[in-house]
């Protein structure tokens, strides 16, 4: 995406503008959201504040209003009661006057109700039981003068139901508004509560409310005693009284409210509910008597209130009645011990506050809604702004980036053209800035490159010609060395060699050739210096050595002659170190001579490798008339000779260490060949050298030659079934081989035993299905016998078996397991190889007359 400068500029500009816009949007939205939160909180605070203040204020107002109303109502009721009291006093004073001045009045009869006057106030008289009206005829007739006063009182418009007097002598005169009764002789007024109360109080007495006997409902009575005074002695003559139905007072109580809410109630001096529009006013018991409810019994709040009210207090409380928060105002009546209370529910009082709160809340909701709409609109506008800004940024960037990068694009095109091989391409950039300078520099570079390439082409052609020639020289040199594998038909020795020149051609060489049928010549040499001069000298040395060794079998003479020939006219003072040997293939006698060469390594008789003892002579070609001394060694079958040049021992690793001769010996000893043949040894050593140098460029020619002597005896082969039944056949075959070679029978018995053990092992275990065969190869000389057993059975290396413990006493020994151990201990050399699916076990027994 950002592979072009143009795109990068584009991206940067868009990112920048987008970033600024997004930042601004964020700030903007943050402000609006903040404002919304602030308004939300502000309105809530305001609502709370208004509510609190209004509640307080309304509380104060209601206290005042309640007080006013309750006092107003108390005054109204008191007024009513005062009127009754006044009329009662009027009746009492009239009665007192009549009894004090009997001579001023005519005796009168009670004017009983006439027909058609049923609904007019009617006087009547009742007498107590046991009183004979005739006996007190004169007094009754005097008292009857009160009836006009009583009628006047009863018809007055103050709502009285009756007006009456009770006289101490035991009669009762009454004018009732609408209840006329017949003459009654069973009514003793002096025992009535209104009479007793007034008599005892000796003044105005308000009796408890009662149910009117005429069924006119709840009533009250007010009474006043009257006396006569004679000689300073006051004598009670009777009690005047008035009865009133409480309808007027009820109207006052029922009409008491605050703005249409609340209710009033009236308590008597005992705290009993006389009336209330809300509370149950009264009930009757079985006898039809009035039962009033005690206000205090309604609950603890009412109890407290009742206590206040019955003690004549005026007050205001905020409390909780019937599960509702209320305000209560109360005050006593002036006339009697009653008290008026007015209750208003707090919720009614605070209704305006709630209403205001609702209004405030809806106002807030409306505000928030409006704000939200604004936020949405703002966000939309910002989005539009962002889109427009991006479009503008893209368009501007495209134009700007295009202008900015045009020279770069032009430069890029030119460079690409040059890189594709067109050195004639010229970049046209007019600008004088860095890009213009770069284009100019590139044009100069292209021109110089073109010149350089032309020069180089000439040099390359020359070099290629030399390389081609060297390549041919390499091939010639490599073809001069004997090819591999050599002597495939010979079984008595195996030989393998490599020469790797450090340059195209080298000064090292190896050579081998059959001097005659029973003699093998081997040469390894190293010419001083490297490359072409060394190669030329090598050709001469190699040819001379081979020719001389073919002609003259005495190596000392060969080296003497060749040295003189090489030294002759050797103006360049070149020389060659050489090791040469002649192997008599039937006897293993190895004659060798060394001209300043590193001694080879030899493994003899299955022992470790050690340096072959040589008589080091002077290098070949260095000086004339040098004599050389040959040495001899007797090789045994299985012996290995490793001949090399100093390119091996002096190979370098990246740290600058040398491979060293010691490592040659160590590596050779550590190697256990799995495949037969000399090639395995050479390949292993070459691999070790390559590992050591770690890919470092080779500094010297490397030559290695391995000669493996496998014995010169006659080779006989026997193939028999893998069965112990063939054991005698095997024994006879071995005996014949060794007899013919003159191998001593005493040594042969050991080998016989070893072969039997191995053969029996194969016969028993190699072929579980049966039917296999074993091939025996025997190569025998007077010095040594080699037997090789090959089978195609289960791959198994018997030599890997651990040794049995031969120190154990008889009872701890297992039966068997000794065979392979015997085979190994009674021979000089045993080796197992698995080659091409064959188990190959080689056993070697050496004739050692001394031991």
């Amino acid at each position: 995406m950002f592979t072009t400068i143009k795109n990068r500029v584009l991206f940067t500009l868009i990112s920048l503008s987008l970033g600024v816009l997004l930042l601004m949007s964020a700030v903007c939205l943050y402000g609006v959201f903040n404002m919304r939160a602030w308004i939300d909180k502000g309105v809530a605070d305001l609502s709370r504040e208004v509510e609190s203040q209004s509640t307080e204020k309304l509380g104060r107002t209601i206290e005042h209003d309640l007080g006013e109303v309750v006092e107003d109502k108390a005054a109204l009721i008191s007024e009513k009661l005062a009127a009754i009291e006044r009329q009662t006093l009027h009746a009492a004073s009239a009665a007192e006057y009549i009894f004090a001045h009997p001579d001023e009045f005519q005796p009168r009869a009670i004017d009983y109700l006439q027909p058609g006057q049923e609904n007019t106030p009617t006087p009547h008289i009742r007498t107590a039981p046991g009183v004979d009206p005739a006996a007190i005829q004169a007094e009754i007739r005097l008292a009857a003068n009160i009836q006009d006063v009583l009628r006047g009182i009863t018809v007055s418009d103050i709502g009285l139901s009756a007006s009456y007097i009770g006289v101490e002598s035991g009669y009762f005169i009454s004018v009732d508004k609408n209840a006329a009764g017949p003459e009654n002789k069973n009514y003793d007024p002096t025992t009535r509560p209104w009479y007793v109360g007034a008599r005892e109080k000796q003044g105005i007495y308000w009796a408890d409310v009662f149910l009117d006997s005429s069924g006119r409902g709840l009533s009250l009575s007010c009474s006043m005693p009257f006396y006569t005074e004679e000689n300073g002695v006051k004598t009670l003559r009777g009690v005047a009284g008035s009865g009133a139905v409480l309808d007027d007072i009820r109207a006052i109580i029922d009409g008491a409210d605050i703005g249409g809410a609340g209710y009033a109630f009236l308590l008597n001096h005992k705290g009993e509910i006389i009336m209330s529009p809300k509370l149950a006013p009264y009930a009757t018991d079985e006898q039809g008597r009035l039962v009033l409810e005690k206000y205090a019994n309604r609950g603890p709040a009412e109890q407290a209130l009742a206590a206040e009210m019955t003690s004549g207090q005026t007050g205001f409380v905020s409390t909780r009645l019937d599960g509702e928060d209320v305000y209560v105002g109360y005050t006593p009546l002036v006339i009697n011990d009653w008290s008026v209370g007015l209750v208003v529910a707090r919720s009614d009082v605070l209704a305006p506050v709630d209403e205001m709160r609702v209004q405030l809340s809806s106002l807030r909701d409306a505000t928030i809604l409006a704000l939200n709409e604004n936020i949405t609109l703002t966000a939309l506008l910002l989005l539009v702004a962002i889109v427009l800004a991006v479009l503008a940024a893209v368009m501007l960037s495209l134009r700007f980036a295009g202008r900015l990068t045009a020279p770069v694009v032009s430069l890029n095109r030119g460079v690409r053209e040059v890189s594709e091989g067109n050195l004639d391409a010229v970049i046209n950039v007019e600008s004088q800035d860095e890009i213009g300078q770069l284009a100019q520099a590139f044009n100069d570079m292209t021109r110089r490159l073109k010149e350089y390439i032309q020069n180089l082409s000439v040099a390359m052609a020359e070099k290629e010609r030399i390389a081609a020639e060297l390549n041919i020289a390499t091939k010639i040199q490599s073809s001069m060395l004997p090819g591999m594998p050599p002597f495939p038909d010979r079984h008595d020795f195996d030989l393998y060699a490599v020469m790797r020149p450090a340059r195209e051609v080298g000064g090292d060489f190896y050579d081998f050739f059959l001097v005659d049928e029973k003699r093998l010549g081997v040469v390894v040499a190293d010419v001083s210096g490297k490359s072409m001069p060394a190669a030329l000298f090598m050709v001469v040395a190699k040819t001379l050595l081979r020719n001389q060794m073919q002609l003259e079998h005495d190596l000392e003479k060969v080296f003497f002659t060749v040295n003189n020939q090489l030294a002759d006219r050797n103006d360049e003072a070149m020389f060659v170190t050489a090791f040469a040997g002649l192997l008599e293939t039937d006897t293993g006698v190895f004659t060798y001579v060394n001209a300043g060469h590193a001694p080879p390594a030899l493994r003899r008789g299955g022992q470790s490798f050690s340096w072959l003892e040589t008589e080091p002579g002077f290098v070949l070609g260095g000086m004339e008339n040098i004599s050389y001394t040959a040495r001899q060694a007797r090789l045994l079958p299985g012996d290995v000779i490793f001949i090399y040049t100093d390119g091996v021992s002096e190979a370098n690793n990246p740290a600058g260490d040398l491979f060293t001769e010691q490592k040659i010996l160590d590596d050779l000893n550590a190697f256990v060949p799995t495949g037969a043949g000399a090639a395995a040894w050479v390949e292993k050593m070459r691999e070790n050298v390559a590992d050591f140098t770690g890919g470092l460029e080779q500094t010297d020619d490397i030559t290695m030659l391995v000669l493996l002597y496998t014995g010169g005896g006659a080779v006989k082969t026997l193939t028999v079934a893998a069965s112990t039944g063939c054991l005698n056949e095997v024994a006879a075959f071995l005996a014949t081989c060794m007899d013919e070679a003159g191998f001593p029978a005493a040594e042969g018995a050991n080998l016989q035993l070893a072969v039997e053990e191995v053969f029996v092992n194969i016969a028993r275990y190699a072929y579980p299905q049966g039917g296999g065969s074993v091939e025996l190869t025997c190569s025998c000389t007077a010095e040594c016998t080699i037997v090789r057993l090959e089978d195609e059975g289960i791959p198994y290396n018997p030599l890997a078996r651990p040794d049995p413990d031969i120190e154990l006493p008889a009872e701890k020994r297992g039966i068997g397991g000794l065979g392979v151990y015997l085979a190994r201990t009674l021979t000089d050399y045993a080796q197992y190889n698995e080659i091409n699916g064959k188990n190959i076990l080689t056993l070697v027994k050496i004739n050692s007359p001394a031991g």
Partner: protein, 102 residues
Amino acid sequence: MTITEHIDESGVVLVVEGRVDTNTSPQLQNFILAALQTTGHVTVDFAKVPYLSSAGLRALLLGHKQAVSKGAVLELVNPTEFVTSVLNSVGFDKVLRIRPKP
């Protein structure tokens, strides 16, 4: 290989003649075990045994173990040089009762 058996004052004497190898040693084993059934002392004469393989060693070891378990004696007498070297090389000279050639 042939085995001749006779009795002398010590017990049973087995005179072995020929190669004791994988094929012949079962026969030697049978003779030794049979002789141990009848006597408490078995002498095995190897004067004419030029060759002994591990199978023969096994027969001798089995015989020796059998003799020890019965409280009997198995004695190998007159082993040849080769047989001695084989016996020595596997430590049987320390296990078996061997009486060399006088």
